[in-house]
């Protein structure tokens, strides 16, 4: 199994390098004039500018600069955010966690809704409930997440049931631990739901398809021939096989999960990585833009890796290759 993980890593690491390269080239396009405009900004001390010019060796040839850039990454030195006036690492730290928990919440929501729906639809193929679920999936797949967000936020503003933005209420500090969790959950509700609607639709269809495929398999006949109750045949024998291919896809879905989360963070005002990246792009905060971009790649890498480990655990055919 370790071998499998290593093999997967070998694929993703070049990706990060390419992202780093792209990031770096982009910086070259804008860095020159960037530093000039920085010098004119009274809020930024000359000291800071000198420090970073030195750090990135802007006077040396490009290839050397790139090596320094990568080396700095390893030292967790991501540059300076001129918009926030503090080193980038301090800005990014908190944001990563926020994006992570939002994505995780969406993932849990997606899987706990889509799988049962998919199984149900497969078992009641072509009957009313199946058709209904299929229709709902289509709608879920076709509704832009930001549109849904606006609608839900409007609903929230009219009913007052859920907060309208941000991650914490103003009085967060005064709440009990339970209260804090509840507050977090309430804030997460709208963005997580909007984030999940599309993936529930798509995952449900996959589950249904896999399940239908699995239900035709020979080993189910064997299981029945052994006298096993139908429940066991379906939920142990069939389901375990039907789910495996979905876990394969789990890894790749992280990419769209992070993407979608970014958009929703921006609309809802959730203080995450995507939100940060937009601010950075708008204010042309070069280092922040690049660090956010790299971070998204790393977040993806971690998620993908976890999914691969999960897959190896679930599918013995992979474990023992």
């Amino acid at each position: 199994m370790i071998g499998y993980i290593v093999k997967r890593l070998i694929v993703v690491i070049p990706l990060l390098l390419v992202m780093a390269l792209f990031t770096f080239i982009f910086m070259q396009k804008t860095a020159g004039s960037f530093y000039d405009s920085l010098r004119m900004d009274p809020l930024i001390s000359q000291q800071t500018i000198d420090y970073y010019e030195n750090l990135y060796h802007l006077d040396r040839p490009l290839s050397v600069q790139f090596l320094h850039w990568v080396a700095n990454l390893f030292r967790l030195e991501f540059g300076y955010s001129f918009y926030y006036n503090i080193p980038v690492i301090h800005v990014i730290k908190g944001r990563l966690w926020n994006t992570f928990i939002l994505s995780l919440a969406s993932l849990i929501l997606t899987w706990s809704v889509a799988l049962p729906l998919g199984v149900w639809a497969a078992l009641r193929r072509n009957r009313l409930i199946d058709r209904l679920i299929q229709l709902l999936s289509y709608i879920g797949l076709s509704t832009p997440s930001f549109l849904l967000a606006i609608l839900l936020m409007y609903g929230a503003s009219q009913t007052g049931w859920l907060p309208l933005g941000g991650m914490r209420s103003a009085h967060y500090e005064e709440l009990s631990i339970l209260g804090q969790w509840w507050d977090l959950l309430k804030h997460m509700a709208i963005p997580a739901v909007c984030l999940s609607v599309y993936s529930i639709g798509s995952l449900q269809r996959l589950m249904r398809g896999n399940m239908l495929e699995t239900l035709r398999q020979q080993y189910l006949l064997t299981a029945r021939a052994k006298g096993l109750p139908e429940n066991r045949v379906i939920y142990v024998h069939a389901l375990r096989n039907a789910v495996n291919p979905l876990i394969t896809i789990l890894g790749y879905s992280f990419s769209s999960l992070l993407s979608g989360a970014a958009l929703l963070e921006i609309i809802y005002g959730w203080p995450g990585l995507g939100n940060l990246m937009l601010t950075a792009v708008r204010s042309k905060d070069v280092y922040l833009v690049m660090a956010s971009f790299m971070m998204s790649g790393i977040l993806f890498l971690i998620g993908n890796l976890l999914a691969d480990i999960l897959l190896a655990k679930c599918d013995p055919r992979i474990r023992y290759e």
């Binding site: 694929v11 993703v12 070049p14 990706l15 390419v18 992202m19 792209f22 990031t23 982009f26 396009k29 804008t30 289509y138 709608i139 797949l141 076709s142 509704t143 832009p144 930001f146 549109l147 606006i150 609608l151 936020m153 409007y154 503003s157 009219q158 309208l164 790749y252 992280f254 990419s255 769209s256 992070l258 993407s259 979608g260 970014a262 958009l263 921006i266 609309i267 995507g274 990246m277 937009l278 792009v281 042309k284 833009v289 690049m290 956010s292 971009f293 998204s296 790649g297 977040l299 993806f300 993908n304």
Partner: protein
């Protein structure tokens, strides 16, 4: 060199199949209508997208009436609207029954050119100034939402088509080469594909968007957005095409062609690519929605198409001030159009795939 018969059996069945599936057929009709209106927006809409009138900011829809206040039947007309303020300084519009503006057809208007080619100067319907016809209400600057939505369709719908056309071309070339030659070429190209697919799209979108110089004018911004979207999207299509090519090159007629010394290029062109056609169309149909949504999202955030040009995304950005929705719910309409077009593409694509799948399996079996 004869191509093996491929589509003659399928074509008659396809339209019939689509028609029978009510959902899919509705989708076809909707898309047809939307694209038609988008192309002929100049003609179909009563106002140009630039036509604004601050006196009518957020004016509610003006219903077309047939019976006037005295209960008499009239030719279709619209009442004038006067703007006033209520106690909370919110705008309120009252109907002014004293001013009647009849609905006119083939109204004369400012000259325009459909798609920059066909000149015209009449619009399908409208009312005479100073009357205003707001079928679906007005936006913050008093611009007719109905017209703006039609014009917006141009951007939103065609970015989808153009973007997909570029992605598909790139994907076809790369996927075709990878699938046909196999081996090392395939591996390298597929690794590249994987990389593109792995980067979270939205972040890449933002990063690339940041590279676009600020001095670009609207058309250039439009082009760069299309290019960026295509840049993100080609990988998925390339993989699909590569998969198809990989299985096709094992077919007997390909081997026969090779044995006869036909060049690789010719083989790819004449024997392999035509067979990928049907599945490619499905893949294309199913990709267009993501372009539409991504463009809308970008414009919604203010990073895409800018005012005064209309795209469904940037029309929706007015709804970001959530409070507005209560008083001007019609600003959500562009969202409905995004939804309808995306859903139509999805349904049609799926139906096509269902249609092709059993055939595909049968084809494979016969080989």
């Amino acid at each position: 060199m004869n191509n093996t018969p491929k589509t003659t059996n399928k074509q008659p069945g396809l339209w019939g199949y689509l028609r029978r599936n009510r959902l899919a057929w509705t989708g076809v009709v909707i898309l047809g209508l939307l694209y038609f209106c988008a192309v002929c927006a100049d003609f179909v809409s009563p106002y140009s997208y630039l036509d604004e009138n601050r006196d009518y900011s957020f004016c509610p829809p003006t219903p077309i009436r047939l019976v006037d206040s005295d209960g008499r039947w009239q030719r279709p007309f619209v009442y004038g609207m006067t703007m006033g303020f209520d106690r909370d300084y919110r705008r309120v519009y009252e109907i002014d029954a004293s001013r009647k503006y009849p609905l006119r057809f083939l109204v004369k208007a400012e000259p325009y050119k459909i798609m920059g080619l066909i000149p015209g100067s009449r619009r399908l319907f409208g009312v005479e100034e100073p009357g205003r016809l707001y079928l679906w209400g007005a936006d913050s600057r008093g611009r007719d939402l109905f017209s703006r939505i039609l014009y917006g369709g141009r951007v939103s719908l065609f970015i989808g088509l153009i973007g997909v056309a570029i992605s598909f071309t790139i994907g076809l070339i790369i996927g075709g080469i990878a699938g046909y030659f196999g081996g090392k070429t395939d591996e390298i190209l597929m690794r590249m594909c994987e990389m593109f697919m792995m980067v979270p799209g939205f972040y890449l979108l933002l990063a690339l968007r940041a590279v676009v110089p600020p001095e670009f004018n609207s058309v250039q911004v439009f082009v760069s957005i299309v290019v960026i979207l295509a840049f993100i999207g080609w990988a998925g299509l390339a993989r699909i095409i590569r998969g198809m090519c990989l299985s096709l090159r094992e077919r007997e007629y390909v081997m026969a062609a090779k044995a006869m010394g036909v060049s690789d290029f010719q083989i790819i062109l004449r024997h392999i690519l035509p067979h990928t056609l049907s599945y490619s169309i499905v893949a294309i149909m199913l990709s267009i929605p993501s372009y539409i949504i991504m463009e809308s999202a970008l414009s919604f955030l203010g990073l895409g198409i800018q005012d005064p040009f209309a795209s469904w995304g940037n029309l929706l950005s007015e709804a970001m001030g959530i409070v507005q929705i209560k008083f001007a719910p019609w600003i959500l309409l562009p969202g409905l159009f995004i939804f309808l077009s995306v859903m139509s593409f999805n349904v049609i694509g799926d139906t096509l795939r269902d249609y092709l799948d059993p055939r595909l399996k049968a084809e494979n079996r016969n080989m």
